[in-house]
Symmetry: D2
Subunit: 358 residues, 4 copies
Amino acid sequence: MGSTYGKIFTITTFGESHGAGIGAVIDGCPAGLVIDETFIQSEMARRKPGQSKITTQRQEADQVSILSGVFDGKSTGAPIALFIPNEDARSKDYSHLENTFRPSHADFTYEAKYGVRDHRGGGRSSARETAARVAAGAVAKLFLMAQGIDIKAYVSQVGDIQAPPHGQLDLSTTEDNIVRCPDSATATKMITLIDQVRLDRDTIGGAITCVIKGSPPGLGEPVFDKLHAEMGKAMLSINAVKGFEYGSGFSGIRMRGSEHNDAIINKDGVIRTVTNHSGGVQGGISNGEEIYFRVAFKPVATIMQDQASVDKEGNPVTVTGKGRHDPCVVPRAVPIVEAMAALVMADFVLRARTSRIQ
Amino acid sequence: MGSTYGKIFTITTFGESHGAGIGAVIDGCPAGLVIDETFIQSEMARRKPGQSKITTQRQEADQVSILSGVFDGKSTGAPIALFIPNEDARSKDYSHLENTFRPSHADFTYEAKYGVRDHRGGGRSSARETAARVAAGAVAKLFLMAQGIDIKAYVSQVGDIQAPPHGQLDLSTTEDNIVRCPDSATATKMITLIDQVRLDRDTIGGAITCVIKGSPPGLGEPVFDKLHAEMGKAMLSINAVKGFEYGSGFSGIRMRGSEHNDAIINKDGVIRTVTNHSGGVQGGISNGEEIYFRVAFKPVATIMQDQASVDKEGNPVTVTGKGRHDPCVVPRAVPIVEAMAALVMADFVLRARTSRIQ
Amino acid sequence: MGSTYGKIFTITTFGESHGAGIGAVIDGCPAGLVIDETFIQSEMARRKPGQSKITTQRQEADQVSILSGVFDGKSTGAPIALFIPNEDARSKDYSHLENTFRPSHADFTYEAKYGVRDHRGGGRSSARETAARVAAGAVAKLFLMAQGIDIKAYVSQVGDIQAPPHGQLDLSTTEDNIVRCPDSATATKMITLIDQVRLDRDTIGGAITCVIKGSPPGLGEPVFDKLHAEMGKAMLSINAVKGFEYGSGFSGIRMRGSEHNDAIINKDGVIRTVTNHSGGVQGGISNGEEIYFRVAFKPVATIMQDQASVDKEGNPVTVTGKGRHDPCVVPRAVPIVEAMAALVMADFVLRARTSRIQ
Amino acid sequence: MGSTYGKIFTITTFGESHGAGIGAVIDGCPAGLVIDETFIQSEMARRKPGQSKITTQRQEADQVSILSGVFDGKSTGAPIALFIPNEDARSKDYSHLENTFRPSHADFTYEAKYGVRDHRGGGRSSARETAARVAAGAVAKLFLMAQGIDIKAYVSQVGDIQAPPHGQLDLSTTEDNIVRCPDSATATKMITLIDQVRLDRDTIGGAITCVIKGSPPGLGEPVFDKLHAEMGKAMLSINAVKGFEYGSGFSGIRMRGSEHNDAIINKDGVIRTVTNHSGGVQGGISNGEEIYFRVAFKPVATIMQDQASVDKEGNPVTVTGKGRHDPCVVPRAVPIVEAMAALVMADFVLRARTSRIQ
């Protein structure tokens, strides 16, 4: 259960790390959208393993097959099924884990919930599942581009190293370096740190900031399905995410209302706010300003060190990381954050079409 | 749209700040639950306005009527409708706002979305809607108590004043003071600060921490409906919330895997973790440890000061707070956080019953 | 569970026959709709008990209170809660049934499912629940009228007495007689039959035909949520319904394709069909022709005769109808069929707004 | 939209008649179920084209690949993705239809809804989509078998030829003849009729009856999600279905309550009914008796005769059936009816686990 996201523009994912492959079915994509396969593939390339020295060395082509829903290059309104075969799955790297629970992985919890478990590479709990999200998110992005909505995420923190605030950055340069931080000086420090962590056979946490421009006012729903509540859920559903804040976020705790409130002005006939502590959302609904938020990622759980754990029978065991893993997840998570943001926004664009009698 | 939450144990809320009242319909509450109306009412009392000098002075009895779904004191499996009439609604306090957009309120965004707007007291966007959540959450709590699951929230921060970590606190003392912080020394400082802020005709932000004990392993779903993702959505759907983190949260960004990972041990036949940076959730599924998270609230938007804004036609206006408002939202938000947490957990308890063939 | 219907224009009902009352929450009604309370009440009058000699003599004003979602006479986009208090509930008429299962009622099945049961007047299983549907359906009708969609149902059969085909009838005359059959000669026979059945202390089945005019092409979804599949579910969810057919329906079994197929023509620039065996729906999507369907109702289960049954302990008992009941359900079910049809159509009108990129 | 069915045991289908293939994703299948691939394939064989002289001669192996969710032969609780490649798709048979609307097909309605259309073999509207339902339904059947629930459908009518009532039939003999009617004398007549219709270059309608044994009491939900309402929707969602009735069905219109009511008895400690006009369902919830219903299918729309229609520009055209089609759909629809019934029942079995506090 729980493998479907969205109300109108919906995505259902399937697949495991070491099974036949990973896939997604998009139901509710409006008809008539030009499906640019090159763009989808370019998004996959941003997430795929083995792309640089600071990522896992597993090699996957991550070639997306479109199995349905597209005819003559356009969406038809029928479900769009996307499939990405697994190629470089080395299941034997995991045979020693069949009866072992790895610390801070989902091994024990899946066993507790289901009684059976595909232990190979974490099975369904592997971050490989996010490949399907990136593929589907690329379709959502194509839809949003046609609406003038632009989503850009970047690495804003690794360990203690932080990038300047997003207003001071040129987000078009994010892809210029392998860590995906648009401030090159900060990026260099981040890469050095990740490299060091890798040599230490350890991992480290990080943060991603995402900025959405071009959203019209009126997206999002009151009460439970607030724009930022759905966005928070979408982000927290990404592997390794521990926190979400939008606008002023946790720093708003320390602020006074007189400081935090965003004064409203009429700017050339458009109602705007002077500041944007609201993060582009008021009462759960977009106000036309930039939507921005920050997502916290924990350090990857697989480390190349001995750790204490137990096996299925409760006997103490020592677990040592094998396989090929990322020392820091955030560089590859940038397109995942964008994909989930795109899925949330696409859904709200469609929902907004039903808010008035017309 | 978006006024329903949950998959099996569902809640649909309705009502506006100055209309006939506020209500909720619970559908999916299992049959046979003893519905303790005194308990429901005691939860309402924790949220209701006018309860202390640091809250709004609006007076509402917040008496809950059970309109359906309960017979001979027990739930029947039919929808439980709860209704709380509005009594002390002074709509004329808002007549000057009919055409004005208050800064950092939802006035402009509702207008942009719907074209019409109930301006009285914020209408549907008012936090008064949360009265319905507390009533429904009390029913969810009754269900969870029978499962041995206990949910306790408290005020962990107001402005710069922070309580010690939750492990050092006795959460049974939370209700001993009006700010709902279980550390009395910290509570005193918080109350002083809120009082000062009120005299300054201003407002201030805060944070609430919530701790869930007694959750069995296996609650939560993989992928999109992870326990912490649904919890995050539920919290972010509460008025004024700007951020959510669980377990290590944002501090996990700075940690290394070797420090963050929770070693697993066999403690008297129960599989436990030594530390709990995971916050009781791994891969979106509970592991039996304490589930804990922190929620950030911005300062209340209504301040008793002049602010620049515009009216519906875009003309500049000065807005000054009238009405009766909270200088800090967190003391009254404690039962709201618990209510939403209870709704999330009740839903997952029921969902978990379907995970295996049996 | 299962008390909510619809995807965008949704309705959640609550209430029991002998509790405080019956209600509905509409979530997803577009903003800006003029809510004509007189119209809502006139729909209630068509369903209410005691309206004629051939219906139950229970007296209910069935006055609808709008608790939320309407401001200045218009829908605001917030949930519209509707409440109808129970007034003439004589629970003592049912006290002898506390431990008895009435034949062909839901007494046993509710007991089997829930273990507890509100036995008074059938509790949640009473057709009184449909009062909430009629109230909510009236709102849906107001929305559809603005789209030019008109829904008209009528009694097409009682026992062996059948009205002529709908194409030969003037549906504007349905309300001219108490049985709601637009053919006055047939109506007279039906009334005589129902009267006789009542004198026999018995009940009898019937059928309702519904015709929807003005539907644009393109409503309904392929695959599972076909227009006629949702319509069928909606109709079958009405108490006492045993069957549903649309277009040619069961008579299509005997037809050949060459006879059944609806030839397509261009009629003054509009693509039309010559015949309409399809019932206005092809592949689950409306084609712009009249949508029509027929609904079969069983005879009411409560009869004023002795019947063999058992009590909760399995001991044989004799059950005799008490209370006040309808000898034939179809005259009062006409507005219920229309209400459910309106809810289905309103939902599809809104869903259709998301089918193309625009 | 609308390609997902079910609440807990859910199925999402994708694929078109002449695309890469057809597939389904099952989310919510309980973990630990032995997935018998041979059984799945045997169900596919019952639906596949080319199986006898009275079906279409299109040849498809309909080999199901399980892409995910199964490990060591058992379901893991993760989504089970099933894929069936298209092999014998002769798209050129349809090239003349690119701009033509076939009578009583979904060509015009898809065009009206989406503005674009995959015309090859009917695209998404083709009954080939039901291959995915049969594959997923086979998994649901495996789950139900473990619960002792048995679902058997058969052809009960073709044109005017009707089989005896189901109580007089041995349903284990259904597969003994190519028309799937368990009465061999009737079967012979049906086959002769279908053969004649085929020679006439025409098609004919039919009916399928389905009987479910072993259902415990308590399945189904009150109000909207009644067991028979969901069953009706599921059946009406199958291509070519025009009507649904359960229990007494349309014949109940003519009955009196004293005749229709099912007297209740205690049979060796089990509460049973003497007759079963209720069709095993009372108030939307199963009572433990046989659940039975009948489904009406129209004659297949593609006939090998000239028919009047128009093209996309509204110009008159003559359409003549090409390709390979069934003269009567019901023999191959038997496993589809069973599959949909299995999906409905599996969902209700899981939902029923949440009805009481436990």
